[in-house]
């Protein structure tokens, strides 16, 4: 009795979830395989002829291989800013958790501000211009570090609280300097939370649209999310290519999700509950 009920609830839920959450993705996939005129009809139907490969080539080669450049730019921004975030916020989280002082108290307040508040965009642009970092990859990377620092630090601080202080003291008594204690003893122990952090931040930065829109305009600096936005107006009548582009942008998070499901879940809930 309970067995059948368990099965029926599950099947009904699966059917509903299928309709609500999966159909939009199926729609994206179908549109991406259609011809131009067929895609313009916007119907939820199988393509008469699968033009998947043709559309893929068309999108990749469009505008002088802009999409490849965009994938390169987005990956570069993501990798460099996440690498910096891991080291910098682990250091901040470590000192904040270990040493209650006026300085770390102030840092705590600023972190909360960073979690809540929207960045003041135009003053940031003015400032970036005055130090020559506007429209540069360096500027964009530094902005991503600044904007994601709070969340990243919160993750580390919460995790470091579970590492016993005795370890630091043992290393200290053995004559290790603070720098050595952190990089040789503490940082290797942070591996689980670092994996979580890398995965969560990578997805957030890769998917960021507002940042590049404001701070990184220009054709050479185009990022993946901006190609979508640009193609939206340029391909107003070429829905097949537009949807192929959406499909290509959706694949990296999907791959990451399949491999790092558990880490993502840990990061999202830990950060959320503590934050």
């Amino acid at each position: 009795m309970t067995r059948t009920r368990r099965a029926t609830t599950g099947i009904i839920a699966l059917a509903l979830a299928g309709i609500i959450f999966v159909i939009p993705f199926v729609f994206i996939g179908l549109q991406a395989g259609k011809s131009r005129t067929e895609a313009a009809m916007l119907a939820f139907s199988l393509p008469k002829a699968w033009l998947f490969w043709d559309n893929f080539v068309a999108v990749v080669t469009a505008r002088d291989y802009q999409l490849l450049l965009a994938f390169f730019n987005s990956s570069l921004i993501t990798v460099l800013s996440v690498a910096a975030l891991v080291v910098l916020s682990a250091m901040v989280g470590y000192v904040m958790q270990r040493r209650p002082s006026a300085v770390t108290g102030l840092a705590q307040i600023f972190l909360l501000v960073g979690l809540m508040m929207p960045p003041a965009v135009v003053p940031t642009i003015g400032l970036l211009q005055s130090i020559g970092l506007f429209k540069t990859m360096t500027g964009m990377i530094l902005i991503q570090i600044a904007y994601n620092l709070s969340f990243s630090t919160m993750l580390y601080r919460a995790f470091i609280a579970t590492i016993p202080r005795d370890l630091d003291e043992a290393a200290r008594i053995d004559g290790a300097k603070p720098r050595q204690i952190f990089f040789r003893v503490i940082l290797p122990l942070l591996k689980p939370v670092t994996v979580t952090n890398i995965v969560v931040q990578s997805i957030a930065i890769f998917n960021d649209f507002t940042g590049p829109l404001y701070y990184l305009p220009g054709r050479d600096n185009v990022t993946v999310q901006l190609t979508l936005y640009n193609f939206q107006s340029a391909y107003a009548t070429q829905y097949n290519l537009l949807f192929m582009n959406i499909l290509l942008v959706t694949i990296p998070p999907l791959i990451v999700f399949i491999f790092f499901n558990r880490q993502i879940v840990a990061g999202m809930t830990a950060g959320a509950v503590k934050g």
């Binding site: 609830t9 699966l14 999966v22 040493r99 003053p123 600044a146 939206q232």
Partner: protein, 333 residues
């Protein structure tokens, strides 16, 4: 204050290290930092002073980036919001930008829309998230798969989702209205009807964001001991009573998190609205964040920054009292 803290920390550590040493010895070592501290203040060499194993300079690299690129612009935004500004010269004009913000009907609508959008998405995510979490923690088949399906949209590009749903919400050919027509209902102009556009975007926001709320609620629900439910069942409580008397009160921390997070997200929301309607039709779905972008594009930098300051104040005025209120309720319970 800072020095007191520092000294206390230092003596703590000293005391621990000196556990094996006799009592009078530890007292003597504990006094040394005081002396060196005084000589340091007097300008003499600090070499003898034992530094904390957790040096403050660890904060420095992060602090420089964060201060220059986040805190300074935030602080200066208050000044620029009171100027006419072309990124080079700023002319002080007092509260004129704010006056304009609250007198131009389309700007006021942006403000009202922001509040509606934030309240609506937050409420929907909380209710649907809790509902889904209860379902996905109950004993059903394919639970893991269902969780993954509900959560995946959170990770997908907002712009991609926005474009896909804009197409599906096409008034005549879109999937939504074709499906409605097949059962004999004339579908609305989801994004073309000014009265409906904002709500349609909010619905897509729910679709994309409910997975995160569900995830947080699942974490909250898993922390509730099954003993409570067992005891309630023995006492003859119905499912509904169990939900109201056990689940709801005990899942409160998760609820607070979901409400706060989704409110902040809703107030700041930009990507989805911009991808789907660009604030239109007319100004029907404009929110503060889209107004900020539009004024920036139009070259009204002072006005745009005033929008930023208003958003800053709005979030402070809503989130801070809410947090205090949540905490007080917690203490009372």
């Amino acid at each position: 204050m800072p020095r007191l803290h520092k000294d206390k920390m230092r003596t703590d550590i000293m005391a621990r290290i000196a556990q094996t040493i006799s009592r009078s010895d530890s007292k003597a070592t504990a006094e040394t930092p005081d002396i060196t501290e005084r000589t340091a203040a007097g300008g003499e060499t600090t070499r003898r002073r034992r530094p904390s194993p957790y040096p403050h300079w660890f904060l420095l690299p992060a602090a420089i980036i964060y201060t220059v690129l986040f805190l300074v612009p935030t602080a200066t935004s208050f000044w620029y919001s009171m100027t006419r500004w072309d990124l080079k010269t700023a002319t002080f004009i007092g509260f004129e930008n704010f006056h304009q913000f609250f007198s131009e009907p389309f700007l006021v609508q942006g403000l009202v829309n922001t509040l509606i959008y934030a309240a609506l998405t937050s409420a929907m995510k909380t209710v649907c998230g809790l509902g889904l979490a209860v379902l996905l923690t109950s004993d059903i088949v394919a639970r893991g798969l269902l969780r993954a399906i509900v959560f995946f949209p959170v990770l997908v590009s907002t712009i991609g989702v926005g474009i896909a749903f804009t197409v599906m919400m096409h008034p005549t050919r879109g999937v939504f209205n074709v499906a409605l027509a097949s059962v004999g209902v004339a579908g609305p102009g989801w994004l073309t009807d000014p009265a409906l556009a904002l709500f349609s975007v909010a619905l897509v926001d729910l679709w994309k964001g409910v997975g995160l709320a569900t995830l947080i609620f699942i974490a909250g629900l898993s922390a509730i001991s099954p003993d409570y439910y067992e005891a309630a069942r023995i006492d003859g409580a119905t499912r509904l009573q169990q939900f109201r008397r056990i689940t709801l009160p005990l899942v409160r921390p998760a609820t607070v998190t979901v409400v706060t997070l989704s409110l902040i997200g809703g107030l700041r929301s930009f990507d989805l609205i911009w991808a789907m309607t660009r604030g239109g039709p007319g100004f029907a779905s404009d929110v503060i964040a889209s107004v900020i972008y539009k004024q920036y594009q139009a070259g009204f930098y002072g006005l745009s920054t005033a929008g930023n300051v208003i958003l800053f104040l709005l979030i402070s005025v809503i989130i801070l009292p809410l947090t205090v209120w949540f905490q007080r309720r917690e203490v009372e319970q």
